[in-house]
Symmetry: C2
Subunit: 426 residues, 2 copies
């Protein structure tokens, strides 16, 4: 099989084994051995002499980028109608658009546009929301499979507080459809797998959550949802689940909050101390979505605090609360939002640095997928080759400076090659 | 002459005569008569029958974008080293880079890169800082002249609190060099003209400011500088000019703050009530630079308050506090920053809307250049033709929705034609 070969890329190799600094090995060999990274070497070691070497010249080679949170059906209205806060935005723009995916023809047209853009992006791993519609979600999985990107894709569950056109008939119907979808898709793909996806507490009854927790224990599938994004949302959850000490507790009660159920929670902008403790205890991954949290005026998550505590954090583009599918942009946005948070709200939390943002968008989120997002030995070989010749500079720059520039300036034209788990996909 | 012809563009015509809404006339004729806009018509009026018509098909036609503040010499290090606040950033990155422009060969290489990117951008008007170096600044003016963009370009004045390599010998020397530069450049170009450019109060002695004020009265030239960007800067000005009630007063005392001296002040993030009153009384133009103010953690200017008072406000990219030369990006950044300001700092000032941001980046800043930035009758014919086919959508969108998408998604590939004062420059 293509991804099981052994080869090397030669170029300027950069990655962030820790958030503290971008490690650069200029003019070096990044060796892929049977789909895994064997190491980065200034000269090819004896045991690799003779393996194929792809010369990337003066280009940069970085780990593939990881998008921990996005909604594929919302790609069709990205960059539109962001003058509302979360709950109004959902009712006015999001739910009517998602309802259209009941029509497989529409879903096919829209998801094709999404998949085409995902394919050419520097993203190699993603956690993706679909809609409540099983056929459309399977179509989405088929299309992502073709891109070579490794993705966890979720058929969404919603059985309350949603418009008629986007609400499943009952908890039982939702669970039955979800079980069928899992049996139809689990193990079917090379690159794509299902992930349990209760939309968020307000749109899922306790009965549905109970059933999804049971399904999680039976299948071992991971979980993704939303948490503490917006003040009105949090107040609503308090009303709906008065028995829970925090919003996160409303997932945890049903076994859908980390622990044995690997879980991504998007946002965590306004998490309480209790909720943060619970996330840390359960090993929940936080998908930090700075652009979306800005566009919907939700606020800025205290990522510095999460990092200082050693919690698990990655980045999400959160299409279409976010308008950009670029994880480079998500990195820049994370840095920028942290600066305004520091200046306007709380100067006890230092702004994020560029190396920290790069870490979050590679290894930080990558760890949800296993050993992913770094070029340390034994990590899956996800790599992207970048050409920044479109941004000429009057003097020589170091590779680290060039990467910093790409992070801010990438316009979608830098990617010249993409490898996922050892397979070249672009 | 090329720009004095009469012709029409046919397409979807959009502009913002007021900040309240984007006005769209789909499938209409935008008529240019002798360099000025004659109007937008659904059918060509009798008197224009037979004029050349450029059919833009399904493309959008908007006013050229206006960049009220940017530093051309800093383009070479955009997107690098933005982990510092203003004064440290100036000393660490900016001043050493600007010192290199003493070498005309370096200036030529670096300014060529800037001018090439400006030429292909949707910007048609700009107010530009050079460096203290007269030859390099004249070179910059030569290069911008070729782009067709109408620009005010400033040789910078600095005679204190600057490193030796970037400080003029004395106030007298600075003034003499400035007078020579004005005599060499005023009236020399079709597109480019000089603008007086004291860098900011900390780097200009009272003697220099006094002389620049005199020069302004003699020449009638406009003025550009910086105002109330960062707390440390403001505190420093208070020390340097204890006689002034506010930072702005330190320009006003020398006749460099609006009134008979048309003036752009960049930033105005932390202006006091006294300063705001003075700006309004003097008709000072504010260049709002949201991205730069985020990158350097300066804060977010209260643009909503400025608009509510009917003050004059436009947008600046502020290269290289800002990393992007795109005024579309400056519009999106202005909206986004206003949302975080509203959420994190002061919920009495509603976030900016997309139409307001579009107004700021066209007519708002354009008024500094005269009747510029709108398609109302008699406005100079600055127009940009946009192709958004690179952002496919599964359903039809209105032209206003398409423009909103471009504002957020433009990656530098949308511009298909550019006209400045009636002349096609791209």
């Amino acid at each position: 099989m293509l991804e099981k070969t052994t080869f090397a890329l030669r170029g300027h190799i950069l990655h962030t084994p820790t958030p503290r600094a971008i490690v650069c090995m200029p003019e070096s060999y990044l060796v892929c051995e049977e789909g895994k990274t064997a190491g980065v070497f200034t000269e090819l070691p004896e045991r690799f002499k003779g393996i194929p070497v792809e010369d990337c010249g003066d280009r940069l080679v970085i780990p593939g980028l990881v998008d921990l949170h996005l909604h594929a059906p919302q790609y069709s209205f990205r960059a539109l109608g962001m003058d509302l806060e979360l709950l109004d935005w959902l009712n006015t723009h999001t739910f009517p658009e998602e309802a259209k995916y009941a029509d497989p023809a529409y879903a096919g047209r829209a998801y094709r546009i999404f998949a085409d853009d995902l394919a050419v992006s520097p993203t190699t791993r993603a956690a993706v929301f679909g809609t409540i519609h099983r056929p459309a979600t399977e179509l989405l999985m088929d299309l992502i499979e073709e891109t070579g990107v490794r993705a966890l894709v979720g058929k969404v569950n919603m059985d309350r507080n949603s418009p008629d056109i986007l609400r499943e008939e009952s908890a039982a119907a939702s669970l039955e459809d979800t079980a069928r979808w899992i049996s139809e898709t689990k193990g079917k793909y090379r690159n794509v797998a299902p992930i349990l996806t209760p939309r968020f507490t307000p749109s899922c009854t306790d009965e549905l959550m109970e059933g999804l927790g049971k399904l999680q224990r039976e299948t071992g599938l991971p979980v993704q949802s939303h948490l503490s994004e917006n003040f009105s949302e949090i107040a609503w959850v308090k009303e709906l689940c008065p028995w829970s000490g925090c919003y996160g507790g409303a997932y945890d009660r049903f076994g859908l909050f980390g622990g044995d159920a690997p879980t991504i929670m998007a946002h965590c902008v306004h998490s309480t101390g209790e909720e943060i403790d619970l996330m840390q205890a359960r090993g929940v991954f936080i998908a930090h979505c700075a652009q979306s949290n800005t566009n919907l005026a939700s606020g800025v998550a205290p990522v510095r605090a999460y990092l200082d505590r050693g919690m698990k954090v990655g980045l999400g583009t959160d299409i279409a609360g976010g308008f950009s599918l670029s994880v480079f942009r998500a990195m820049a946005d994370a840095v920028q939002a942290s600066k305004l948070r520091w200046r306007l709200l709380d100067d006890s939390l230092r702004p994020l640095t560029v190396p920290e943002a790069f870490y979050l968008g590679t290894k930080g989120g990558g760890e949800f997928f296993g050993k992913v997002g770094s070029f340390e030995e034994g990590y899956e070989f996800d790599a992207v080759v970048l050409d920044d010749s479109g941004f000429p500079h009057p003097q020589a720059l170091t590779p680290v400076e060039r990467l910093e520039r790409i992070l801010y300036l990438d316009d979608g034209r830098c990617v010249r090659g993409k490898y996922v788990a050892g397979a070249r996909v672009r």
